[in-house]
Symmetry: C2
Subunit: 378 residues, 2 copies
């Protein structure tokens, strides 16, 4: 087992109508905030009104940053940092899914010292403080609500990268499963693919921690169990609550205790696809993982077999991959590039960008981009 | 799934030689501390010297509180509170196992406002602040290093009770598996019984959270797997590290996410035995749990079967209890009162104290103390 530090101070408010505790929570930090949200589904579904009513009723001043993109961009963060500084906001309130929260983390980190998001991400600027961040989650997927990671992309450099900073832990995250009931079927499925991918990354991380591996496998098996249930009955509170809890635990450190960190190789493949074709993050992962397993099966057969045993009770890697693909197909997430509308003639473009950005895993390295991409087309 | 709040801000420093980070960590909070330890095994094993050398070398002043008893007593805490106030300590450093850390939690909570430990435990005094607490763990068992619980006993009232307060979360806990290598075989086994009992309490807690149940079962199966390994090879770092990680995760909230709380009925039985006969906590639990399962098997058969399936792949409750008892016997923890030297003629005394203290579970209540006690004798 590796030496490790674990610290996760996020206060989780989970369950029905937990926004009852929102105003008092914000007031712990001030009464002038930045309210960040996305493209309008939170408006359409009434969550925006609900939150704004709470703010108005409690005399909390808010400045709005709206229109955060599904694959969030560093320049939008920089724009919001300017506004946040002008308005002298005391805290950031994120209302949305992973992209809104990831952007808000970067804003909270950059506002106090007027930093540039991409410079911080690249480690060239080092923040010493951050504004308090409070999140209200509307999508079970990224786990960002309970960790200190953020992923941003930069269209100038054509990179999509994750970074971490303990100052980016939200102070509080409000997780009401009712807010996830309006998530459409396809995005529910992409979220599920993301949850499972996070647990995979933990499982294939650096170091030997059988308990962490059992935790990862528990999340995967429960997620596979609840996936068809929630897709068949999207307004079932209990199913939504279970998926939401799985998503939070898939990336809050539980699956990497006793390890150095997760592997993140397959996420890097997915990021390449999102950068080029703006496809949803979860959809990129259900394409990338089967190909990655096929690429790695001779390199790390024992690890893959151990996972296959824990999840499906299988000892055969090919059968494991087949089962996994069948699962993705059953929830209608793509398993091949062409399923996501990415035609054969894009192959070189993908290979070239992987090469340029030198994508790889942390612990199970790969560089055969040609073969990997071919496997994503089959 | 139940609504829940989760908040666990303990910073864990886990692994070989993590005390390298101790001095810098203490200095975050001050340079005048209360150093709390137990009966002398930490002196005999050299851990005391190691810590004191670090303190001396770094100019950190310390006042010693030694002689904390294995089943810690409120009056010892009150005595230490006086001394801590006199010396104007800025933090508490606990070096030891569960009893030392539980006592230190109460000290840290009572020193700033000069409170009485038992009054706080009973909820009649409500602390508003606490001193920072740093722990160095020497025994894998109670999980106190990463939670806000403490258990104290009171010889005046003949009660042994747990209480919780978010102010009692340690700021930092140092977990070096090397420090647990000197734990004798019997106490290693009692610790294992305690770890498993915590996971049981989570499993039988209030509310329905299949993911939490899988986490609990993961801890139990891993603990059952590593128990014979560590007992056969007590100086194996890897085995000790795994047991230590299991003990921390068995009671840091992971097994009760999505639930109201753990059940704690069987711990209350164990506390009765420790109060009367001062037997080690873990030993009291390997006696109490089989009896509790036998008492409850007609009341909650489905829950017990679900646990039996997850741990041993069994559907038969009696066979499950037999397997569990065989496991306890294999690690030489007692499964009957007479194994722990508690003779038949004590039966009434036990029944009477359970009756007087109205012990019971939170969610699976019991009051047939006569039958329960009989089952502990077989």
């Amino acid at each position: 087992m590796e030496n490790f530090n674990f610290y996760n101070p996020v206060s989780i408010h989970f369950g029905k109508d937990v926004l009852n505790e929102l105003a008092d929570t914000i007031k712990l930090y001030g009464n002038n905030i930045l309210l960040v949200y996305g493209k309008g589904s939170v408006v359409k579904n009434g969550y925006y009104n609900l939150v704004v009513n709470i703010l108005n009723k409690n005399g909390i001043k808010y400045t709005e940053i709206s229109g955060i993109k599904p694959n969030p961009v560093d320049s939008d963060v920089d724009e919001a940092v300017k506004i946040g500084r002008q308005e002298k906001v005391q805290a950031v309130l994120a209302l949305g899914g992973g992209s809104v929260i990831d952007s808000s983390k970067a804003m909270a980190l950059c506002i106090p010292e007027n930093l540039s998001a991409w410079e911080v991400l690249k480690g060239r600027q080092k923040p010493e403080k951050a504004l308090p961040l409070i999140t209200i989650l509307t999508l079970a997927a990224t786990g960002t609500e309970m960790n200190h990671f953020s992923v941003l992309q930069n269209h100038q450099t054509n990179e999509k990268l994750g970074f971490r900073n303990p100052l980016m832990y939200p102070k509080h995250s409000f997780l009401d499963p009712q807010f996830t009931i309006t998530v459409p079927k396809n995005y529910t499925a992409y979220g599920i693919a993301d949850i499972i991918a996070h647990a995979f990354e933990g499982f294939f991380g650096g170091g030997n921690s059988p308990l962490a591996d059992k935790f990862a496998a528990s999340i995967i098996t429960e997620c596979i169990k609840f996936a068809p249930l929630v897709l068949n009955e999207p307004d079932n509170y209990e199913y939504r609550a279970n998926i939401l809890l799985q998503s939070t635990y898939a990336l809050n450190g539980t699956t990497t205790i006793g390890k150095i960190s997760g592997d993140w190789g397959t996420h890097a493949i997915g990021h390449t696809l999102s950068l080029l074709y703006d496809i949803p993050h979860g959809a990129s992962l259900s394409i990338a993982y089967p190909a990655w397993f096929k690429l790695m099966k001779h390199q790390i057969p024992d690890e893959i077999k151990r996972l296959a045993q824990l999840i499906f009770g299988l000892n055969d890697i090919d059968l494991f991959i087949e089962n996994l693909e069948q699962f993705y197909i059953s929830i209608e997430t793509p398993v091949r590039l062409e399923d996501a509308g990415i035609k054969r003639n894009k192959k070189n473009e993908i290979v070239e960008l992987m090469k340029k950005n030198q994508i790889s895993g942390f612990f199970h390295k790969f560089s055969n981009y040609e073969k990997l991409t071919e496997l994503m087309y089959r």
